[in-house]
């Protein structure tokens, strides 16, 4: 009985020390980590919705979670476009994309936030050379074909998933909001 108590006490001491060190580290790094996340998001927002189009981006929250962002231009409260995040399973992972569109459905910017597609093939959906095909096009006319959007060579499945997710969610967004 005595040894068990001794072991328990030693384990308790070790864990206490570990926990207090971790708590300190957590508190030191917490503001910095939050700032990094905020910066990353602000940068992504700016990229999909540049200042020329909208200089004020406001989150729309529901139950404390950001659903999408509204983009305004100038001082007027004239709504100019939307930014939102879409997810869809591609070839080997969920492709998460931030989409910025105008109210009439013109694509302003796209940015793949996270994906884990095949290196050298599917990952190229995040490349600028693939994404720039979408810019300044109306979402409703996007399609994978020779004269429209060229799929990434050898990665048709990833390309199609990416396009579908952008297209269908944009259409839905516009339908709900423009009514």
């Amino acid at each position: 009985m005595n040894t068990i108590l001794k072991f328990a006490f030693i384990l308790f001491l070790v864990n206490l020390a570990a926990a207090s060190i971790l708590a300190t580290t957590y508190n030191i790094t917490k503001p910095k980590i939050e700032e990094q996340i905020r910066m990353a998001q602000a940068e992504a927002l700016k990229q999909v919705m540049p200042e020329e189009v909208a200089d004020r981006i406001e989150p729309v929250e529901k139950d404390g979670v950001v659903q999408y962002w509204k983009a305004f231009k100038g001082k007027s409260s004239q709504l100019n476009g939307y930014v939102f995040i879409v997810k869809k399973y591609g070839y080997s992972s969920v492709i998460e994309t931030m989409v910025g569109i105008k109210k009439d459905g013109t694509v302003i910017g796209l940015r793949v936030i996270s994906q884990n597609e095949t290196p050298g093939l599917g990952v190229k959906v995040a490349d600028i050379s693939f994404i720039k095909q979408f810019i300044n096009r109306n979402v409703s006319e996007l399609e994978l074909s020779k004269n429209n959007i060229n799929a990434v060579a050898g990665a048709t499945i990833s390309s199609r998933a990416f396009l579908d997710s952008v297209k269908s969610s944009s259409m839905e967004m516009l339908k709900n909001k423009n009514e």
Binding site: L22, T29, G120
Partner: protein, 199 residues
């Protein structure tokens, strides 16, 4: 003094964790797709190794044998979490690229292996040098593997385009490429050392 030098250099050469002990292959396979990732993982693992070896060596006399493994795990996990938080705060890009493999240093065989095989028996200075040697050896191996993989699989080195007009060999970017590179390197090293022994 000579003994201490030996403790340091054995991790780089004769007891290299990847090429000789064949430990810690999981991160070596997974994150060695680019030199930056390999270096980041190497440094992170070295830091954890150093921290855990020093602490374990310091408290080795107070820890009863029966509960040493849970104590080691707690200590290692503490260091890993510190690394993870620090990386997220100061190197978010690297943290994103290494992903799950930073928290997985907890179960990296090298760290627990050194704690069990070395630090819980030897004094602090020797344990520190052992950890440094193992960490440097691990980092060196990761650098070698990731340099080969990045060059052949992507045509770049440290992100700079080296091989122009070259169709990257995707094989080396994927898991089988890592196995092939590690296998061939181990084979080559064994071949060279057996030749030296017989000569």
């Amino acid at each position: 003094m000579k003994k201490l030098f030996k403790e340091f250099f054995k991790g780089i050469g004769s007891e290299n964790p990847i090429f000789r002990l064949v430990l810690g292959l999981c991160p070596a396979l997974a994150v060695s797709t680019s030199v930056v990732n390999g270096l980041g993982m190497g440094i992170a693992a070295t830091f954890v190794l150093l921290g855990s070896n020093i602490i374990i060596s310091l408290i080795r006399k107070f820890i009863p044998d029966q509960i040493r493994i849970p104590c080691f795990i707690v200590i290692i996990a503490t260091f890993v979490t510190i690394v993870e938080l620090a990386m997220k705060a100061y190197a978010p890009e690297l943290s994103k690229a290494l992903g799950i493999f930073v928290p997985l240093i907890v179960v990296n065989c090298i760290v627990l292996g050194r704690a069990e095989a070395f630090a819980c028996k030897e004094d602090v200075l020797a344990s520190m040098l052992d950890a440094l040697g193992m960490g440097v050896g691990f980092t060196f191996a990761l650098l070698l593997i990731s340099a080969i993989r990045e060059l052949l699989g992507n045509g770049t080195f440290l992100g700079f385009l080296i091989l122009k007009n070259f169709d990257p060999i995707l094989y080396f970017m994927l898991a089988p490429g890592a196995l092939l590179v590690i296998g061939l390197l181990i084979g080559g090293i064994n071949f060279l050392s057996s030749k030296r022994r017989s000569a």
